[in-house]
Each structure stands twice: as structure tokens, then as C-alpha cells.
């Protein structure tokens, strides 16, 4: 900036370049979503004759109806709806249980430290980073021994267990910032472990509960690895079903149905993102950037 707020020609040019670059990236990031949406409402004839970005001339909801209710996925002809429901049945309990346990764990690891609790936390932290390939084979065997391989309950267990490291990390780091004096004063007043948790910690936990629920929901809903390894046919989550739909080598490829199914699979997490983006970003950067 020059004196008196007058902008030079070079400065105005630089500013224009900044805006142009930023807008080009808007196009780059939105293009795939735009292409998916217009492809999903074009009939196949238009897809074959038009281009990626040609707008639909006679828009149709047919591909959406087919993707939802009648597309062939694996051995069934009932579209993606059953798999969508599977994902709900897996995600909701796994998110709730792992968040709840994470909250209590984080409370203990920050306000009721004992000998070895820091070591436990460090070990758990390492668990956030393991590549899951290194536990797949034993997990498959264990689910078999428990008699829940290929079931929704099995996937809920897997997601809960491997989500605990993250949920505990989130709550612990949040509760560390709550003054110890508050808890100590309550202890002197005779409040016990659960009472302090209930009356002091939980009421201030709304932001971190949001962050954790959103993080877990996106992680579990979007999971593919556990789904493909630990579920079969009817119990598969929506991501696995989408892959099966897209990767079938059947005669005619219906790109419009593929795109409609992809959008259906993306709607819950997109909704969460646009409804609570603030918490979403906070979860992403928690633990990643210091401070």
C-alpha cells in the first residue's frame, strides 16, 4: 500500500491476478460436482452425443430413480437404497458409542490423571496413525470367532474400536484447556467423578462434541476399507455398493446412473459439511497444526 491509500497500477494488477487465480480454482473445485450433477440428469442418448459440460436438453430423474431403487448391484436389482440404510445402521451407533467413550476417556486423561495415564495416551495417539492394513487379518479372524463376521454389528464394533483413539484425542485436548481449579473446587465441595463430568465438563463440551461427531460421521460414512473387508452382499455399506455399481463389467455402462448413485452416497457428508463446516474444519486441523 502506498501513502494515502492510493493504489498504483501495479498493485491493482496484482490484486486482479489474485482474484482471477482464486476464481479459476473455484472452477477447478466445483467442476467435478457440476459435471456429476448434469450427467446424472441426462438420458444416455445425450451423454453419448454431447460432451462432459453440455447442459441437459431434456433433463430426467430416471437415473436417480434407477440408482436409488432398481440398479443392479452385486446380485440384487434393488439399487443403492438398501446399502444406504446399511451405512446409516453402521454409522449412527458407531459414532454415538465412540463419542461417548471418547468423552469419558478424555475427561479421565485430563482431569483424573494417574500413574501411567500419560503413557496410555501416548500409546493411543500412535493408534491414530497405524495403517489399518496391519490389523485387517486378525480382525477378520476375530470377527469370525465372535460369530459376527459379515454383520452390521461387526462393522459397528470395528468402527467404534478404531475411532476411540481419535475421539479420546479430541476430548482430552479440549478438556486440558479447562482450568483445573474448577474441577478441584468441585472436588473440595464433595462432588464425585460422575457429578463433575455431568455438571462441569459436559455443559461446556458442545463444540468438541460437534467436532467429534462430525469427524466420526464423515470417517465412518466414507469408509471403504473396513466395508470391503468385513461385509458381504446384503450388509455392505454404501461406498462398497457404489464401487460395485461403477466397476461392474456389464454390457452397457450407464454413466448417469453411476453419477446419481455417487451423489446419493455423498449427500449425507456434504450435508454435514455445509450445515456445520466450522466444526468440520476444526476437526481436520485438530492435532495437525499446533495451537
Amino acid at each position: 500500500m502506498t501513502e494515502g491509500g492510493q493504489k498504483t497500477y501495479a498493485e491493482r494488477l496484482a490484486r486482479a491476478v489474485v482474484y482471477v487465480v482464486l476464481l479459476l480454482f473455484v472452477v477447478y473445485f466445483l467442476a467435478p460436482l457440476f459435471i456429476m450433477i448434469i450427467t446424472s440428469i441426462k438420458p444416455m442418448s445425450e451423454i453419448r452425443t454431447g460432451t462432459l459440460i453440455s447442459l441437459p436438453r431434456s433433463p430426467t430423474v430416471e437415473p436417480w430413480l434407477k440408482a436409488w431403487g432398481s440398479a443392479t448391484i452385486g446380485v440384487s436389482n434393488e439399487g443403492i437404497k438398501g446399502f444406504f440404510v446399511n451405512s446409516l445402521k453402521i454409522t449412527i451407533p458407531a459414532v454415538l458409542i465412540s463419542t461417548l467413550i471418547g468423552a469419558v476417556n478424555g475427561y479421565v486423561l485430563s482431569k483424573w490423571k494417574f500413574k501411567g495415564s500419560d503413557a496410555f495416551f501416548a500409546m493411543l495417539l500412535l493408534g491414530c496413525f497405524i495403517p489399518f492394513q496391519v490389523i485387517l487379518l486378525p480382525m477378520a479372524r476375530t470377527l469370525g470367532l465372535l460369530g459376527i463376521s459379515g454383520t452390521t454389528a461387526g462393522l459397528v464394533l470395528v468402527h467404534t474400536v478404531y475411532g476411540l483413539a481419535f475421539t479420546t484425542l479430541f476430548f482430552r485436548n479440549f478438556y486440558v484447556g479447562i482450568p483445573d481449579e474448577l474441577v478441584n473446587a468441585a472436588k473440595i465441595d464433595g462432588a464425585g467423578f460422575w457429578r463433575i463430568f455431568w455438571k462441569i465438563m459436559l455443559p461446556v463440551s458442545k463444540p468438541i462434541i460437534m467436532v467429534t461427531i462430525i469427524w466420526q460421521t464423515t470417517q465412518i460414512w466414507n469408509d471403504f476399507l473396513f466395508g470391503v473387508c468385513f461385509s458381504t452382499g446384503e450388509t455392505q455399506p454404501v461406498t462398497v455398493a457404489l464401487n460395485n455399481l461403477v466397476n461392474t463389467s456389464s454390457a452397457v455402462k450407464e454413466y448417469n446412473v453411476d453419477m446419481a448413485a455417487a451423489i446419493i452416497a455423498a449427500i449425507p457428508t456434504l450435508f454435514v459439511y455445509f450445515a456445520a463446516g466450522k466444526y468440520f474444519v476444526r476437526g481436520l486441523t485438530a492435532g495437525a497444526v499446533k495451537g
Partner: protein
């Protein structure tokens, strides 16, 4: 004194309660994380093929693994893909963060646009890019119809180039994340330093290049670690986008592991490849966590 020493069951319960509450999670961690890792390592040193066979054979499976060409391809691909993915994400993420930090109008809207791909599953991202990059009806046709008749873009089905399509899709998904990290770093930068440098006559690009970017070292460090971690774990994107193909030209260690352990029934080899992946991740994560925890306790 004597009174305080008397055993009080309620007091005792109150004191052990935190440990009791943690105990199930501790057990779960010991079994499902550390126990399972050891179990996998053990499988990798056994004779297991289609069924588990716990006869101990030492490191033979690792010798075998490193003799398989497909494993080499997977590791080479990881280097190409990881290297490009990390450097492009960081370059674009930093550029976007710096530009967004120039008191831009509608900054919030732009940020949400750059970040939304992160909320998508890699399966969705893969589906979208598979459609856009397909040689018959995708980008190739679009450019040809615009008038460039000889335009050719068949990377998706070209075994030499297919790995780069994975990079394109992965960069699209993860750049926003790096941008958010850098933006947080830039917002934490003391603006009085910038003003002081401007008074001294330094231009803004020069200030960024000489002062601000070098001060972002911890953010670079964190971004590299997280992106490396994403790269090593990449699995779904490859499965959906290329199915590891053509042939096995886009295999990554994660898809190799899945193929050997779950579809080809070579349990021990699959376990050995999983153990190698685990060691790769630990080689970068342990020094990172160590330095993070140490610098935190120094604060």
C-alpha cells in the same frame, strides 16, 4: 493420622474409578491395536497361505515379497504418487492460502468451495474422476469437440500414465486441507512484522518469500507428515479409479496387501506387506510425534 489410614471402601472406589473407567479402552487398545499388530507380524513369519498356518518360518515371506515384481511396482508407484501428491498439494495449498489472506471479498465462500471435496468419500471422488477422465466420452471428447481434433488424453487406460490420474484426483480432494493448515498458520503471523518490513521498502512478494514462508516451517512439516500418511494409506481411490490397472500398473502397497490377503489367499505375504506398510508409517510418525510432544512440553 490413624483415621486417614483406615480403609474406606467408598474412598477407595472413588480413587480407582478413573482407572476402572479407562480399563475397557485400555484393554481394547492392547488387543485391537497392539495385539493385532503383533498377530499380523506373526502371520507374516508363518507358513500361512489360504488358511492360517502358524508354523514359524522366520523372514522367508519378506524375502519372497521383495522378489515379487508387483510389490516393486506398488512401492515405485507409492514414491511417484506420494512425491507428486505431496508437492502439488503443498504448492497449491500454500498459494491459495496466501492469496486468500489478502483481505479477499467473500473469503468464507471461497474457503468452503476449496474445502468441500474433503467431506467426500474417495469412492465418490474416484467415481467422478473416472467418468471425467474416460477416453471415450470424457475430457478427450470435450476438447476434441471444441475443435482440437487430434487431442489425446488416455492416461486412465495407459499403464505408463494411469498412476498420474490417481495423483490428479487425490490432489483435487486434499488441496483444501493443506490450504486450511497454511491459512491458520498465516493468520497466526504477527502482522506488525509485515508493516515494519514494508516501511523498510520491501515488496510484498519479497516479504512472503523471505520472512513469512520460512516462518511456516512447522506447518510444512505437519502437512508433509499428514499427506505422507494419506498417501501410504491410499486404497479406495485406486480401487475405484483404476482398479490397480491396467494390469497392476497402478497398484499401491495398500491394494497389493488387499489383493494378496483377501482375494488371492496368500495370507502370510499379505501380512508381510502390511507389516512393511506399518513400518513405513512408523518411520515418519514416531519422529513427528516425538518432536511434537517435546516441543509442547517446552512451551
Amino acid at each position: 493420622m490413624s483415621e486417614a489410614k483406615r480403609f474406606n471402601p467408598l474412598d477407595y472406589l472413588e480413587r480407582t474409578l478413573p482407572k476402572l473407567v479407562i480399563a475397557p479402552s485400555f484393554m481394547a487398545m492392547m488387543v485391537f491395536i497392539y495385539g493385532f499388530i503383533l498377530w499380523t507380524v506373526y502371520i507374516s513369519m508363518s507358513k500361512s497361505t489360504f488358511l492360517p498356518n502358524y508354523d514359524f518360518v522366520g523372514l522367508i515371506q519378506y524375502v519372497k515379497l521383495w522378489r515379487i515384481e508387483r510389490w516393486y511396482v506398488a512401492c515405485k508407484n507409492l514414491l511417484i504418487y506420494g512425491g507428486l501428491f505431496i508437492s502439488v498439494c503443498i504448492a497449491l495449498g500454500l498459494l491459495l492460502a496466501i492469496f486468500l489472506d489478502q483481505k479477499i471479498r467473500l473469503e468464507g465462500v471461497l474457503r468452503s468451495v476449496y474445502l468441500y471435496p474433503l467431506s467426500l468419500s474417495f469412492v465418490v471422488t474416484g467415481t467422478a474422476w473416472r467418468w471425467m477422465l474416460n477416453p471415450g466420452l470424457g475430457l478427450e471428447k470435450l476438447v476434441r469437440d471444441l475443435g482440437w481434433e487430434s487431442f489425446k488424453f488416455d492416461w486412465l487406460v495407459n499403464s505408463e500414465m494411469a498412476i498420474y490420474t490417481v495423483v490428479i484426483a487425490a490432489v483435487w480432494q486434499s488441496t483444501g486441507f493443506v490450504m486450511a493448515m497454511f491459512l491458520a498458520g498465516l493468520r497466526g503471523f504477527d502482522s506488525s512484522i509485515i508493516k515494519a518490513a514494508q516501511v523498510d521498502g520491501a515488496s510484498l512478494p519479497r516479504i512472503y518469500w523471505k520472512i513469512i514462508i520460512p516462518s511456516m516451517r512447522p506447518v510444512f512439516f505437519g502437512a508433509v507428515i499428514i499427506l505422507t500418511h494419506i498417501a501410504i494409506k491410499s486404497f479406495d481411490l485406486v480401487v475405484v479409479l483404476t482398479r490397480g490397472g491396467p494390469g497392476y500398473s497402478t497398484d499401491l502397497p495398500a491394494t497389493f496387501m488387499y489383493a494378496y490377503a483377501f482375494t488371492r489367499g496368500r495370507l502370510a505375504l499379505g501380512a508381510a506387506s502390511a507389516t512393511m506398510m506399518f513400518m513405513m508409517v512408523m518411520a515418519i510418525i514416531i519422529p513427528y510425534l516425538y518432536s511434537e510432544l517435546r516441543s509442547r512440553s517446552n512451551d
